[in-house]
């Protein structure tokens, strides 16, 4: 027979109580943050057409940007009465996504929209779908083979760096700073996208005869951003400008700036998150601008997939079909235009 002492009973009760209290704490009221195109007045393409079944697959990564991609795709699809979205979990890696897409292809949707884990590794899957007569819309991570996709819509990493560098150059020139100290906080340094962003920044700064004084990579997370920024601020006791590649890690970068009690420089962000746009609007921190790499491309991808499925072109273009490649421009959000971009923040 097991004797339960009063101490154990009390302890057990407390544990269960804490557990109950905690589970009540997991709720995160999901705010309505999706970026959708709703203005459809007078556009012939908006009229309900033949039903289009769109298969969708994106990685389950733990970054706000990827989360926004999936949310946007779903929200945009919900705008159309003639679109049915079938989402398949892409799993943890390219192999899992290949398997998920194989099932999707077998279901014969009219169009497939996918953000591959890796463009090279899912190239064959793209080809397979195209051969099966299903047009593929590639989101952001390009396939090496042009036959593997019908449409590719992506952001511009080099352009992001270029835009950030141009803004920094212009601002410093206007201030008359001749030999500025510029810091850079990239994301995960081994990624091609990071290298492209850095190349763009350096190219734009070179036009003004400026260059980066110190570069401390983070890992796209706020805590790594805080650590990188703290190190950078310590290395540069005086700084004129800072480009942080990613607004998610930027939360940590801004925290570090505050903790170090600094404010003699201005900072440019990257991606265009809701938090960053709000900070720029409020203008109460060093963050004065951010250059976009918007997950709104997922909403556009769904709209374009619908047009492809219905055999329609883009109404402002002469061509009867949707173009093959679209690269979004990286736009610079400042206090002046922040209100316009507020609804595009993710």
């Amino acid at each position: 027979m097991i004797r339960i002492s009063r101490r154990h009973a009390l302890l057990g009760g407390a544990t269960i109580g804490a557990g109950v209290a905690l589970t009540a704490c997991t709720s995160n009221d999901p705010a309505d943050t999706a970026q959708v195109k709703t203005d459809t007045s007078g556009n012939a393409n908006a009229a309900t057409g033949p039903k289009v079944v769109i298969g969708f697959s994106a990685p389950a990564a733990d970054h706000g940007w990827i989360a926004a991609i999936t949310n946007n795709a779903k929200a945009q699809a919900a705008q159309y009465s003639d679109v049915e979205l079938r989402t398949v979990e892409a799993g943890a890696d390219a192999a899992a996504q290949r398997a998920a897409l194989a099932t999707l292809i077998a279901q014969k949707p009219n169009v497939i929209v996918m953000l591959p884990h890796d463009g090279k590794e899912l190239n064959a899957t793209g080809l397979e779908a195209m051969r099966a007569g299903i047009p593929v819309v590639n989101l952001d991570r390009a396939f090496p083979s042009a036959a593997a996709y019908r449409l590719q819509i992506k952001g511009d990493n080099y352009g992001m760096g270029l835009a950030a560098g141009q803004y920094i150059g212009e601002q410093l020139k206007a201030k008359g700073v001749s030999n500025p100290i510029i810091g850079e906080i990239p994301g995960i340094d081994s990624l091609e996208l990071t290298q492209e962003r850095t190349a763009g920044l350096n190219a734009a700064l070179a036009v003004y005869g400026f260059k980066v004084a110190n570069r401390r990579p983070a890992e796209f997370t706020a805590d790594s951003g805080q650590a990188a920024a703290t190190a950078l601020l310590q290395a540069l006791p005086k700084m004129d400008a800072l480009w942080n590649h990613d607004d998610d890690q930027g939360i940590g970068v801004l925290a570090a700036v505050k903790q170090a009690n600094r404010g003699e420089f201005f900072m440019v962000g990257g991606a265009g998150s809701k938090t960053a746009i709000e900070a720029i609007t409020k203008d109460d921190s060093v963050l004065k601008a951010t250059v976009t790499y918007s997950p709104s491309m997922a909403s556009s991808a769904i709209s374009l997939a619908r047009l492809i499925g219905q055999g329609k072109g883009m109404s402002d273009l002469v061509e009867l079909q949707v173009p093959k490649e679209i690269t979004l421009a990286s736009e610079t959000i400042t206090k002046d235009n922040a209100s316009k971009y507020a609804k595009l923040g993710f």
């Binding site: 905690l22 704490c25 995160n28 706020a222 190190a231 310590q234 290395a235 006791p237 939360i251 570090a256």
Partner: protein, 338 residues
């Protein structure tokens, strides 16, 4: 057999020597800093600020390392510390938890840390899982749960009390550094001045002997993982305050940093030996290297290679000193060997 009994016991003296060695490494790193960036080091205000920055950046990982040191001395390993921090951080920054204010957030982080540590401990002590496997499984699943709860988003902390922990100072010293100091002192007392500490060493050194000596080895092993979980809960609050946010991918690879710091601080990976002060120095060496590389604008790839080199050098040194001491004592005890 005679050689076995002649093995020297690690004395306090020996540990002091090892810690002096780590102080030497720290001093060397500072000298390199002074030589390479004299213009920075010529400003006393900058130097003071730099020391505090190094300590502050070492504080969260330092707290984790104290817990990890206990686990390793007790013969286990905890690969889930980074994941526990992420889960505790995310759970304490959901909108629902933040509604309960700073106290609610701190309570949540600590309870989540304790609870996950308890699950680890029960699986390892009573489920008889190898700690490497059990905590590896926890690493994956805790990060998974954190991603589930956060919806893969970065959760911003809007609580001013929590956010100000990282920017506040007490008598000129950052509050985070005070927290680290408190945890280190508590850890030192627990390991060196209590039966709990003696039992930890006994369990890690020889679990069977510890059991025969009347120690409840299973219960003790479980408690060690609970302790590590608690340290992770504390670190989660510190890190959340520093980043003013939490997310499922936070505290990435903290487990490796904590293990490395404990090892170069003189903790035996096979258990039975280690010190809190050594582990603290281990953390400080890594934090100083990060600082040194930053002020010289050197690539982080090289920094990682140097870190790896230091870990290997520390373990080699440990073995070398151990062997040479053994040989010395053998010669003394047995005049035939010379």
């Amino acid at each position: 057999m005679t050689a076995r009994t002649a093995l020297p016991r690690r004395t306090d003296n020996d540990q002091v020597l090892r810690n002096l060695g780590l102080v030497g490494v720290l001093a060397a790193l500072v000298v390199i800093g002074i030589v390479t960036r004299p213009e920075l080091y010529s400003d006393p205000a900058w130097v003071r600020n730099n020391i505090l920055t190094i300590l502050q950046q070492a504080s969260a990982i330092g707290v984790v390392t104290v817990g990890m040191t206990f686990v390793i001395i007790g013969g286990g390993i905890d690969l889930s510390v980074g994941a526990i921090i992420a889960l505790a951080g995310v759970w304490s920054t959901t909108l629902a938890t933040q509604a309960y204010g700073a106290a609610g957030m701190i309570f949540t982080a600590l309870v989540v840390g304790l609870a996950v540590g308890l699950v680890n401990g029960v699986l390892i002590a009573y489920g008889k899982l190898v700690s490497f496997i059990a905590t590896l499984a926890m690493l994956v699943s805790a990060r998974g749960l954190a991603a589930q709860i956060s919806g893969k988003q970065t959760q911003v902390s809007t609580n001013d009390t929590i956010n100000s922990i990282a920017s506040s100072r007490l008598i000129g010293i950052p509050v985070l550094v005070w927290i680290l100091a408190a945890v280190v002192v508590a850890g030192w007392v627990l390991l060196n001045r209590t039966t709990f500490g003696r039992r930890t060493v006994a369990v890690g050194g020889n679990p069977e002997a510890a059991r025969l000596a009347g120690i409840d080895v299973k219960r003790h092993t479980m408690l060690l993982f609970v302790l590590s979980g608690l340290c992770c809960g504390i670190a989660a609050i510190m890190l959340t305050s520093q980043a003013t946010s939490a997310q499922a991918a936070m505290a990435n690879l903290y487990e490796l940093d904590a293990i490395a710091a404990a090892i170069i601080g003189g903790t035996l990976l096979s258990g039975g030996r280690g010190t809190i002060v050594g582990a603290l120095f281990g953390v400080l060496v890594f934090s100083t290297i990060t600082n040194l590389f930053a002020i010289n604008n050197l690539a982080t790839e090289v920094q990682n290679m140097v870190k790896g080199g230091i870990i290997v050098a520390a373990v080699l040194l440990q073995q070398f000193r151990y062997r040479s001491l053994t040989n010395l004592l053998r010669r003394r005890n047995d005049p035939d060997i010379s």
